[in-house]
Symmetry: C2
Subunit: 283 residues, 2 copies
């Protein structure tokens, strides 16, 4: 087999960021700033790193970031009040609550408190519902990123058999619905799925979204399949056995440099969309 | 093969209605009425029949029905205002907008205007989102009914391969998510699906939700499969070839008398749940 097409997320991400920059510039010319509020609760170092990374990404494309940091012993009331204030703040176009939050807090309740118009990270059930029914905004960012990558590289989805491995609320479920809305035939697999390898072996496109390093094996996949690896595990390892899949795939996302960078670009894109909407440029 | 288990919806429906009756009686003892508002727009005779049937079903289980009838030339504003008033009316526990409404109206916008707490028919994207993410109420009624039937007859769902044929917002999509949340492995098929017969032939459970008479053929299904027919076409014909499927299935829903009666019972159940919630009996 010849080498597969590398679905390089850095290229897609750069194109998206360039576009976001133009749009924030245009907003500025019209007197509107664009602002993403981030909420970090507690002192988990990787969460802190993610939030910092997102703040820097904002800065580069002309999005202000308003970083709210709450102590690890924050009460639910304080967290909800913080979200409420950001919902009501006309300067804030998007709200990102960094997952995970300390376990004494109800993360779902906190997510649900984010106003759908500012849910640029696509974590509320309202956003999930609109995504699934194919109207309104915003999909959660990783699923949105996966579609952007497939579109950028002109991967045909209609009529394709897709197996999604994983069913999380912000990844497996919404990406399945996005792919379904693009006329793919989608099978959603998970920990209780029987004969998983056989199911994966029938897929034209495999989306690995399970959060376990090298979980999808090279010998499961069909010769010529397209592999989208949404996993990002310690040591820069994805959810698929990369080398073995590389040999059989017709196209594959690398890890790192695949879905990850496009996920952040999607957050930026959705933030500027929200700003355009509140400035009356988008309806 | 021996005859399949008949998944008789009338039995399930009766059990559910008996329970609803007890619950409305209990609410009455505590001074609370239960009320479903129905909105019929225009003069489509089958819509009128459906609304009448639902009103009668309410009456039998102690639910008042408030029938709002709007002329065929109703404006979107009037429809939205009607929904708003019903949202705000503390006596109304549930709102049903009979589908379809005249084509000059935006049905999705009207559905979305229903307050999620009163969306006992499960048509809003908010309800769809909560159903998909597996919290809160209410699923749309036919998907809810399908799960009730499978549960009533103790059909195991975990690890089963389910093929859902159809992807409508109030049937195919939500039933797929409900089955997924019950640990089935779900493949969602539709008009663009390739090799549909082959996919159906691998299913342990087939849910036909396509709205085309006898669309799913008896020779597609696996010996011993479980067949759920959510179709209801003119002439009491379902979406599966009943006789041919009957010979091969291990269990099957009849049409009529399968999913249909349980769908109405689900509407009643969700209405009483809403009433219990607003009376402070449920949280």
């Amino acid at each position: 087999m010849s080498d597969p097409l590398l679905l390089d997320g850095r290229i897609v991400s750069q194109a998206m960021r360039d576009e976001v920059k133009e749009r924030t510039d245009e907003l500025k010319r019209q007197g509107h700033d664009t602002c993403l509020a981030t909420i970090l609760v507690g002192d988990d170092p990787s969460s802190a790193t993610y939030v910092k990374m997102k703040g820097k990404a904002c800065e580069k494309v002309g999005i202000e970031s308003k970083a709210v940091v709450l102590p690890a012993d924050t009460t639910q009331d304080t967290l909800m009040q913080t979200i409420k204030e950001l919902n009501e703040d006309p300067k804030v176009n998007g709200i990102l609550l960094q997952h995970p939050i300390p376990s004494h807090l109800d993360e779902r309740a906190a997510f649900e408190a984010i106003h759908p118009d500012k849910d640029v990270d696509g974590v509320t059930s309202a956003s999930f519902g609109r995504t699934g029914l194919d109207f309104g905004r915003f999909p959660s960012c990783t699923p949105g990123a996966i579609i952007s990558i497939l579109d950028y590289f002109n991967i045909e989805l209609e009529g394709k058999d897709v197996v999604v491995v994983g069913r999380s609320p912000i990844l497996g479920k919404p990406v399945s619905l996005l792919l379904l809305n693009r006329n793919a035939t989608v099978t959603i697999c998970h920990s209780k799925t029987q004969a998983l390898a056989e199911k994966v072996s029938r897929a034209d496109i495999v989306v690995a979204a399970v959060g376990k390093p090298e979980f999808v094996k090279g010998d499961w996949i069909k010769e010529g399949a397209i592999i989208v690896d949404a996993g990002y595990n310690p040591g820069n390892v994805g959810d698929v056995e990369y080398d073995a899949c590389y040999k059989k795939a017709s196209a594959i996302t690398p890890v790192p440099g695949g879905v990850g960078p496009v996920t952040i670009a999607t957050l930026l894109k959705q933030t500027v969309e929200s700003a355009e909407k509140s400035a009356g440029l988008l309806v």
